[in-house]
């Protein structure tokens, strides 16, 4: 039984033409998925935290806790 002649040229080119678009597409999808499941929620969490943040109130709480050296708690 004699074997038929297979395709012997352009095999790598064919493989790349098939796989590279998929690779790029999957990479873009992975990047988009990460952006929208991780970075955007994180940014939103920070925005939400700081929307109602009162810096002076937090400073006074820290001052009363006695952690500063430049300003002592109001009692002392």
């Amino acid at each position: 039984m004699s074997l038929p002649k297979p395709v012997m040229r352009g095999l790598l080119g064919r493989r790349l033409r098939f796989h590279l678009p998929i690779a790029f597409a999957l990479s873009i999808v992975a990047a988009a998925a990460f952006k929208y499941t991780v970075t955007e929620p994180r940014k939103q969490a920070y925005a939400d935290f700081y929307k109602q943040y009162d810096a002076v109130k937090e400073f006074n709480a820290m001052r009363e806790a006695g952690i500063f050296e430049s300003v002592r708690p109001s009692g002392e």
Binding site: L3, P6, V7, R9, L11, L12, G13, A25
Partner: protein, 142 residues
């Protein structure tokens, strides 16, 4: 997600096909915008057969030729390999002859039908020149 991927990949494949089109004519890079004459497969094969047919080819030229040939995106045709094996015979280089067979099997990569086909085509030459295949010598296994 997957239907989108396949849609993207076919459109991507179509645009990529116009961008790198080495096509069926030449394994060397040929862009669509160049005015250079594209070499046909037959011309390519004939050129390499002639290269290895040089009666007084030297070892350097044999090895350089094989290395260059292996660098292309193709598995060399049986007639090119026949010519190269005969050059090995003229140079009394059995090691290179067997190495050529190993290289060709490696070039085929995942396409397991190419190497048996080439062995079938080269069987008369291998018998005539007394070249054993790596399989016969047991050196194809690690």
């Amino acid at each position: 997600m997957f239907p989108a991927v396949f849609r993207l990949s076919t459109t991507g494949a179509r645009t990529l096909a116009t961008r790198f089109r080495p096509g069926h004519t030449a394994p060397l890079a040929s862009r669509c915008y160049s005015h250079a004459k594209v070499e046909t497969d037959e011309e390519f094969d004939a050129r390499w057969v002639t290269y290895f047919n040089k009666p007084d080819i030297d070892t350097w030229e044999l090895k350089k030729g094989m290395n260059t040939l292996i660098g292309y995106d193709l598995v060399p045709e049986a007639k090119i390999l026949d010519s190269a094996l005969r050059a090995c015979r003229r140079l009394n280089d059995l090691a290179s002859a067997i190495r050529i067979l190993e290289a060709v099997k490696d070039k085929a990569g995942p396409h397991k039908d190419i190497y048996p086909y080439l062995l079938q085509e080269l069987k008369p030459t291998l018998a005539e020149l007394g070249i054993s295949t790596p399989e016969e010598l047991g050196i194809d296994k690690i």
